[in-house]
């Protein structure tokens, strides 16, 4: 489902130099597989996920999603691929504050081939326990509820791959456990692969095969494989 080879990304430093942030030799994730990466803040996990999602263009290397080489695509086609095959859950949820809960989820499927399907959006929101808050705005929800909207939105386009970047980082322990369980369960139900990055050991403990991001990101010594859930 996800295959990464010699993926590199560097950024220009304020001093004008170049800093290599991501240098992943190999990483794979099978369809429906759930894996977690452990990494501290600033370790390049988000950049790694952005490269997989096609939000950032890699300097070199190859990211293959569902048989499509993302890195060979132009930006517009990367956007299309992301819209159709990838769901993204952010630590800060990144909900659109001016849109209702229902509209946020609808937008999650609007840019891909599936198109806006309000019925599916309602179903998903009901699935995450927000069927009664469709017309509320994100600011009217608790933090845990906002995260659930983000989960529903990430799954709205029936993604092959769900990327979760510190998805419980803004939640307390109780809500973090609930959110994680919800993410894993909904991914499992929809057959989506899940790649989660976190520095929270309690979260990582739910993934017995969780890898250190530092182990796959420089030095590129050997191919690493996502741990099965």
């Amino acid at each position: 489902m996800l295959s990464i080879n010699t993926l590199c990304k560097s950024f220009v430093t304020p001093e004008g130099g170049s800093a290599l942030i991501v240098d992943v030799c190999a990483f794979t994730l099978a369809a429906g597989e759930q894996a977690a990466l452990r990494g501290e803040s600033g370790s390049g996990k988000t950049t790694f996920l952005h490269l997989i999602a096609g939000i950032l263009a890699a300097d070199s290397g190859r990211v293959e999603i569902d048989g499509v080489n993302m890195t060979a695509l132009g930006e517009a086609r990367r956007d299309r691929l992301r819209a159709e095959k990838i769901g993204y859950i952010f630590q800060t949820f990144n909900l659109l504050q001016g849109f209702t809960v229902l509209e946020n989820v609808v937008l999650g499927m609007s840019f891909g081939r599936i198109g806006a399907d309000r019925g599916r959006a309602r179903e998903l929101l009901a699935r995450v326990g927000l069927g009664h808050r469709l017309d509320h705005y994100p600011r009217q929800l608790s933090t845990g509820q906002q995260q659930r909207v983000a989960v529903a939105r990430a799954l709205a386009n029936r993604p092959k791959l769900v990327l979760a970047d510190e998805p419980t980082g803004n939640l307390d322990r109780k809500h973090a456990r609930e959110a994680l369980a919800l993410i894993r369960e909904t991914c499992r139900e929809s057959g989506s692969a899940l790649l989660l990055v976190s520095h929270d050991e309690e979260v990582l403990a739910q993934f017995p095969g969780a890898l250190d991001f530092a182990a796959i990101n420089r030095p590129p010594v050997a191919a690493a494989t996502g741990g099965a859930a």
Partner: protein, 401 residues
């Protein structure tokens, strides 16, 4: 479905700036339409008004003053025409119609004009349009102190058939200069949307022999409205009165004299048009400024949309569409502003000249101006749209780990 939703939500999120910007476009649209339509309609209305007569014969002086006084019932008469001169032009073989008028009195500031019944029975006030009386009325008897009241005056003074009044001396109302003669209203003119609506018409002898008027001028007229049998007659009489004579002025052709007037005040049109264009420019800039100013606040939303798979051209299009919608709102509101402004201006023009302007008069500018405003709005959105297009996604999806 997606683009309208994004545009709608963005407009709602920035409702205040949307309203203010749309209002500035509405003002520009309304001003432009009003300036344009008033110019077009006043010119055509004044030209239409002059089509009834080919020329005006009056005392030596300004042709424009003669036309304004005799046809538009504005300004003072430059002097009188003797009975002999009136009879001479009336009997001239090249003259088809010669209608005398006499001015010099008013009723509460509304001009009283003495004339002959033939003005209402033998002349069309515009092509294909003849004077008509409101039912229940009749034309004045030239031998009696009777009056026919123009539609606008009748409405303003609430005059009706059977009412009586005493004229005041002079063209300006002075309560101390009321004549003793009592006139009876015998008819009300149906609206003509011409200066005739602003006049109280009485027999010409009434003005000539009004108590207190100069007895020596009892047979003189203020001017003679003339229709020629053929255009060549105008040129012939132009030479006779204006080049060979030195007592009288023949204002001919009336249409070109009015056209000269409009060309003389054309600068005013240009100033108004420039002001309107500047307002439109400012309105377009306000679209740019209001959306551009909110771009910092929107960057995160744009990045989120992009992370969901929206392409650069989608966010570019959303901003352009938003600007165009603001332009559309402004254009629609601009039509309402136009109706209000035009109504006010038309009311003033009607009260001052009797010429009625029609707010629903068709002219391509009624469509082109609002479309231009929509285009201007969309154009104002190009710079912010370009900024949205270039918004870096990853940088605005904070925080990163």
């Amino acid at each position: 479905m997606t683009l309208p939703l994004i545009v709608y939500r963005s407009l709602r999120q920035h409702a205040l700036s949307t309203l203010v910007t749309a209002a500035s476009i509405a003002l520009a649209c309304g001003l432009l339409l009003t300036v344009w339509m008033v110019r077009v309609q006043t010119q055509s209305a004044f030209v239409d008004t002059t089509t009834a007569f080919d020329a005006v014969l009056g005392a030596r002086g300004s042709k424009l003053q003669l036309v304004l006084n005799a046809i538009f019932n504005l300004e003072a008469s430059p002097g009188n025409v003797s009975a002999a001169d009136y009879q001479a032009i009336k009997r001239h073989p090249a003259v088809k119609t010669a209608i005398p008028i006499a001015v010099g009195d008013n009723y509460f500031g509304w001009r009283i004009v003495g004339t002959v019944p033939e003005l209402f029975t033998g002349v069309q006030y515009a092509r294909g349009k003849s004077y008509a009386l409101v039912s229940g009325g009749r034309l004045f008897d030239p031998e009696k102190r009777e009056a026919v009241v123009g539609a606008f005056v009748a409405r303003r003074l609430a005059l009706k058939v059977g009412d009586t009044f005493k004229p005041y001396h002079g063209l300006a109302f002075n309560p101390n200069e009321q004549h003793d003669d009592v006139y009876t209203v015998v008819g009300l003119l149906a609206p003509t949307n011409t200066p005739a609506d602003r006049v109280i018409w009485i027999p010409i002898e009434g003005v000539q022999t009004m108590a207190g008027h100069d007895p020596a001028a009892a047979t003189q007229v203020s001017a003679v409205l003339v229709q020629f049998r053929a255009p060549a007659a105008g040129m012939m009489l132009d030479v006779k009165y204006n080049r060979q004579g030195d007592r009288l002025t023949l204002a001919y052709p009336v249409g070109s004299i009015i056209a000269d007037l409009f060309s003389k005040i054309g600068w005013l049109d240009q100033v108004l048009a420039i002001v309107a264009y500047l307002v439109a420019l400012v309105a377009g800039a306000s679209v740019l400024a209001s959306i551009y100013a909110s771009m910092n606040a929107r960057r995160r939303d744009i990045a989120i949309l992009r992370s969901l798979g929206a392409r650069r051209c989608t966010v570019f299009g959303a901003v352009i569409a938003e600007a165009a919608v603001i332009g559309t709102l402004g254009a629609v509101a601009g039509l309402a502003v136009y109706v209000g402004l035009f109504g006010g201006v038309a009311g003033v023009i009607r009260a001052q000249t009797g010429v009625a302007l029609d707010v629903v008069h068709w002219h391509p500018v009624v469509v082109l101006c609002p479309l231009g405003m929509i285009a201007l709005g969309a154009l104002g959105g190009v710079v912010p749209a370009w900024k949205a297009y270039r918004t870096p996604v990853a940088e605005n999806l904070a925080p990163s780990s």
